[in-house]
């Protein structure tokens, strides 16, 4: 009975979405306040109904109700409680339900916090949000219904995929979806602006916080996913340029570009049309990502569930929204007044440079991801486009951007002074060179590109701090004055600095681990030792254990440095009985920002075991950097300027500015 209630709530949510999709937009056309207000009410109602529906599915999973097909296929009565919760979205149907739940959550946020928006803009935004919600609710109900019942309820479930039985699953997908789907708000704002045929700096000011919030969540989601893959898969890799990873990375790149172009639009009323296009493209890339992941067109480590009918349905949604949005853009973009010009060397110019590189890089990743599909469709030849391709193209393209990052904030709006900025970055360049030389001596040489990469990262960190330093006037004024100046700076200045520092930290991690990691594969018997990264690893023996739904074999290792024991580590192989599936649980020990990573291989006939040992220098920098980026996003989001100012002006321009397209 409760299950049917969830199903019913989902159908009702579709109905309220339909109201929300149609009525507010009619209201905006006729300037009918009551009709527009329906959008706000419907958005809240849809969210509550979706939440109820999702709650019921969660209830079915937690109580292990195997009469529900979705629970039977993806759960087991013995798995720990947390995996019963996270198992709700550890499958196709549940994850789509989560997708729509988050979509309606954002619509409800717009409904609640959008009181400052012009009435028609808010109504149109909510309507566009509802179009998306209607499409995906239909998708769930018609092709992926999580509430399907089994006639004879089985006594036991088929278990959650063991790879997914990890805390990572509890966190990674919701964060990723908050990011992915969060960009839907930017998309809806862009479409609403095109429908109204009006756009101004205030629009950018409303869009920026949504972009920031979505971007911050997406950064967290991707970073979390990367760390999860790193420790769970037991290969020691943290990024595979796998199509599914690319599917989340492309919206991230586009979203990063959007974040910067919205800044230009907000401050200088320039790049309007481009920003609208970017907002459309960012969410389109999110939709494309959903399609790639959910349709199973890709050969990928992530393609857990695949079904062609679903693929076709999402492809239709994709074509409808991207095609529709771009057509609308083509018809209406000319109505948006283009902004003013500016000198190529200026803050705006730097941000255009940023956008040029980020969008080109995103396009490159997109091409690399889709090319194998296109080639196969056309010629039948099958190729794999892997890390060599992406390192060569994406890596090289991003290089000029990395060099330019510290320059951006130092250039003035309208007309900047490149030479002056260069002079002010002198200390940062020197710092980078010093760090590079220190690494050179510490490593007795090393590949020149790696030294350059680390120096570049150090330069970015120092360069991002340069702005704060200069603004404080430290050295010219007393410490107290400098402190007052710094604490008086807008928070977004700190946000920028933090995010740019994070980029530098991540770069250092990536370069260090790529260039200086060591990997040994050795056969070990108890008592034998092997060296890695200045530490000695001694294998002590194997032990058999049992978990709630698996059995495991664990190896114990003692780590010592210069003769004294410093740490110990367990590394295991698990065997999940319900699915007859083995997994590797790598053992990791952290030393500073570096890690020793141990995974177990086959047992040998003579009693030994194959052990794979990695020394991962500075690897934690990769994720530490993303934490800086997220902190930057959060700090910028808390900037007062994003919350006050614009609304008062906007309310006066309430009359509809819609003009017939000529």
């Amino acid at each position: 009975m409760i299950i049917e209630l969830g199903h019913y709530a989902l159908v009702l949510a579709l109905a309220t979405s339909l109201l929300q999709a149609v009525l507010p937009i009619i209201g905006a056309l006729r300037n009918d306040h009551a009709l527009m207000e329906i959008g706000t009410v419907a958005a809240k109602a849809t969210f509550l109904l979706m939440a109820l529906s999702f709650g019921v599915l969660t209830y079915a999973h937690v109580t292990s109700d195997f009469s529900v097909q979705n629970v039977w296929e993806n759960s087991h009565s013995q798995i720990p409680l947390i995996y019963k919760f996270s198992g709700v979205w550890g499958n196709h149907e549940g994850s789509m339900l989560l997708w729509v739940l988050i979509l309606t959550f954002f619509s409800a946020l717009v409904a609640v916090f959008g009181n400052n928006l012009p009435e028609t803009l808010k109504a149109n935004v909510l309507a566009v949000q509802a179009w998306i919600a209607v499409s995906f609710s239909l998708f769930i109900l018609l092709t992926s219904n999580p509430f399907n019942r089994l006639l004879d309820a089985p006594g036991e479930g088929r278990d959650l995929n063991p790879v997914l039985q990890d805390i990572g699953l509890a966190i990674h997908p919701p964060l990723l979806y908050l990011g992915y789907v969060g960009f839907s708000v930017c998309f809806s704002f862009a479409i609403a602006a095109l429908i109204e045929g009006r756009i101004d700096a205030a629009w950018a000011r409303w869009v920026r916080p949504w972009t920031l919030a979505a971007w911050t969540c997406l950064t967290a989601g991707i970073s979390m996913g990367s760390y999860w893959a790193y420790y769970e898969l037991g290969w020691g890799g943290w990024w595979f340029w796998d199509p599914v990873e690319n599917a989340s990375f492309i919206p991230w790149l586009a979203g990063t570009a959007l974040l910067h172009s919205a800044l230009v639009m907000e401050k200088r009323e320039a790049l309007k049309i481009w920003t609208v296009l970017l907002a459309i493209m960012t969410f389109s890339m999110s939709l494309l990502g959903t399609f790639l992941v959910r349709s199973g067109v890709l050969t990928s480590v992530h393609a857990f569930a695949t079904d062609p009918t679903r693929g076709v349905f999402i492809l239709m949604i994709l074509i409808l929204f991207i095609g529709g949005a771009l057509s609308l853009f083509a018809f209406r973009a000319a109505h948006l007044k283009a902004g003013g010009l500016f000198a190529p060397i200026s803050r705006e110019g730097a941000l255009v440079f940023n956008n040029l590189i980020l969008t080109t890089a995103a396009a490159t990743v997109l091409i690399g991801t889709l090319y194998p599909l296109a080639l196969e469709a056309v010629t039948g030849a099958k190729i794999s486009v892997g890390p060599p391709f992406f390192n060569m193209t994406f890596g090289l393209l991003m290089l000029p951007l990395m060099l330019a990052v510290p320059f951006g904030p130092l250039l003035a709006w309208k007309r900047g002074d490149l030479l002056g900025a260069g002079q002010r970055l002198f200390a940062a360049v020197a710092f980078g060179l010093v760090v590079g030389s220190v690494i050179y001596y510490a490593q007795n040489g090393g590949p020149i590109m790696a030294l350059f990469g680390i120096a570049l990262g150090a330069y970015m960190i120092a360069g991002s701090l340069t702005e704060l330093f200069l603004r404080s006037g430290l050295g010219k004024v007393t410490g107290a004055v400098a402190w007052r100046r710094v604490s008086g700076l807008p928070r977004s200045v700190f946000g920028t600095a933090l995010a740019h520092i994070g980029l530098g930290v991540t770069l250092i991690g990536i370069v260090a681990v790529t260039a200086f990691e060591t990997e040994h594969i050795v056969e070990m018997k108890p008592g034998m030792t092997t060296d890695a990264g200045g530490y000695t690893l001694r294998f002590d023996g194997l032990r058999n254990g049992k978990g709630p739904n698996y059995s495991e074999e664990s190896g114990h290792f003692t780590i010592s440095q210069a003769g004294s024991e410093v740490a110990e580590v367990w590394s295991s192989k698990r065997f999940y009985t319900a699915r007859q599936m083995p997994t590797t649980e790598a053992g990791m020990r952290t030393f500073g920002l570096s890690q020793l990573y141990v995974s177990l291989g086959d047992d040998m006939k003579d009693g030994g075991v194959v052990v794979r040992v990695w020394w991962k220098p500075m690897i934690l920098c990769i994720w530490l950097g993303t934490v800086f980026m997220m902190a930057g996003g959060a700090v910028s989001l808390s900037d007062r300027r994003l919350r006050v100012g614009a609304p008062a002006r906007a309310k006066k321009q309430k009359k509809p500015v819609l003009e017939p397209a000529q």
Binding site: L341, T364, Y371, P388, K605
Partner: protein, 150 residues
Amino acid sequence: MTRKQKRLVMIGGGVSFIVAAVLLVMVAFSQAIAYFYVPGDLMKADLAPGTRIRLGGLVETGSLKRGEGMTITFSVTDTLDTVPVTYTGILPDLFREGQGVVAEGSFKEGSPVFVADTVLAKHDETYMPKDVADRLKAQGVNLGGKENIQ
């Protein structure tokens, strides 16, 4: 600078960057990609030694030799033709005889043995890499409806 010059600089800079990116992508496509083969295609393909490819198929039952040192040998088959493979390292969790596999690597000069540096196994109980399933179906192997069904 006049407006016209400014615009010219911006557009020129943008276009030249994009052209550079396109060239880079084209170079990378000609160098940094790997073609996919099943054993039956290799005879026709006539590969130069050292060319990186992906070899896909099923792990031939009874061919896997492990537990004798770190180098593992097995054979990849499309049920008609078979290629011996060596791999040094730890096989993925789901590597098993009779199941789908994709090995990435190359043939060394004058040797019929494929030296793999990466081995990807199917990662779900009923999942087979799509490349493998398609090619095997094209070769007429009955997969028993196992591929791509959850």
